[in-house]
Amino acid sequence: MKKRVFSGLLALGIAAVLVAGAGVSHAQDKGTLLMATTTSTDNTGLLEYLAPEFKKDTGIELLWVAVGTGAALALGENCDVSVLLVHAPDAEKAYVEKGYGTERTQIMYNDFVILGPKDDPAKVKGKSVKEALQAIEKQKARFASRGDNSGTHKAELDLWKQAGIKTPDRESWYLATGQGMLNTINIAAEQNAYTLADRGTFIKYENNFKGNPPLVILVEGEKELRNQYSVIPVNPERCPNAKYDLAREFAQWMASDKTQKLIAEFKLLNKQLFYPNAGE
């Protein structure tokens, strides 16, 4: 009953606004493809760099909503977007298995790094990921977590598990920010904390500080730290309004030699942010 009253009111509101709003442009016109993606591809500027090229090659205008990977997957599940560009391989596989998406196309990777203050209070520099996390926990050094179910957050939770540490939650040294990657890095810097970030976003952060940021990379270069990005079209059988053809075209375009080269050429401070690997 309550729902119906609300629906009724909403319909009334819609009517009133549609009357006033006739002619306002629509994000879902033909020729636009709506994507849900992670904050890292947006914050680094990669998408703004690729979207005009995509438009030039295919005539499709790419629009995107930048949220954590968890939220991006949920938007796909709710049929609100047509394609996803995300980085949480295990969650993605489960997603495709459940029939929410058609197939995963690997596009590129970079790696996660553990950042910390220059004076490194828990002395983690040069240690393995496992030892570093154990040291942080033991010393109760501050650690800022995304805490938002994003790809980076999921990776961080896996790393705590691999280090044999019960996932921190209410510990006073553990700060779950619930915000995007750059925000979380900024919070970590303000709080003199460690954090886990993808290298792409870190380079963007470094660039914001003209190459001399308060947080620096302390742990890097292990196999466990690989960060894989993939494109998944939303399943048109579940979501009849999803633009599957355009989504597939996007996936193919992202995996094409030309785009892979563009991704490799995307640099800040002369550093490469993402490594194309569609062929693997």
Binding site: V17, A20, G21, V24, S25, A27
Partner: protein
């Protein structure tokens, strides 16, 4: 501290170089605000009038509900409207998610209580002698109601301005329903959130200054309008 000074300088640069992204966000903001104010005035003023003009059982309780809704958190409105207009929701067929009208409709729910409550208060606050005077002059029921509304027009304008202040400054709804899509649904407030998230604080401050200027200009226009109609 440099951020603030840089922000002010950048605000001037954005405005004078006719920066396309900034103007796109300004126009989206104006569209959303205009649509939501129009919608909520069309719905809210008659409802507020009914609430303030007539006496009926349960009026006080209804008034309390409306006044409580004045404190509706924007994210709650955003989330509820998302649940309805998501493709999986009952109104998914409207395709309103990630559109300007979608944001405006959600904001109608946010500011409707303001319009209703302040209109009702304005009508209640009219001179008590107004009704008997008009009646003794031979005014009919409809004339009586219309004259009351006319007498309360400035207070209703205040209701509109208050609602507009809330609509133009909110960010929760614009973020959830609009999705902050560049060139389409990015408003001033979501752009500021984004710049803050990217660590571009001076850019965020610049946009904040631009938003304040925008509010100042629109308010000035309303004040002029009020003077002219007097």
């Amino acid at each position: 501290m440099d951020y603030i000074w840089q922000g002010l300088q950048q605000a001037a640069i954005l405005l004078f170089t006719l920066d396309a992204e900034t103007y796109s966000a300004i126009i989206t903001t104006i569209k959303v605000t205009f649509l939501s104010i129009t919608g909520s005035v069309i719905i809210g003023v008659p409802l507020g009038f009914l609430l303030g003009y007539f006496h009926f059982p349960g009026k006080r309780q209804l008034r309390m509900v409306v006044d409580t809704l004045l404190a509706l958190p924007t994210v709650v409105v955003g989330l509820l409207v998302y649940a309805f207009i998501s493709q999986r929701g009952p109104l998914g067929w409207t395709n309103l998610l990630y559109t300007v009208p979608g944001i405006a409709i959600a904001e109608v729910f946010l500011i409707l209580p303001i319009v209703i409550s302040l209109t009702a208060t304005a009508i209640e606050g009219l001179d008590r002698r107004l009704r008997p005077t008009l009646r003794s002059l031979g005014a009919g029921r409809v004339q009586l109601a219309l004259t009351s509304l006319h007498e309360a027009r400035f207070a209703v304008l205040i209701a509109g301005i208050t609602a507009y202040g809330r609509a133009i400054s909110e960010v929760g709804i614009a973020m959830i329903i609009g999705g902050n899509i560049k060139w389409h649904t990015r408003t001033m407030t979501t752009a500021i959130t984004l710049e803050t998230g990217k660590g571009q604080f001076s850019m965020g401050i610049a946009l904040g200054v631009v938003l304040l200027l925008l509010v100042f200009l629109l308010n000035g226009a309303l004040v002029l309008l009020r003077r002219r109609t007097r």
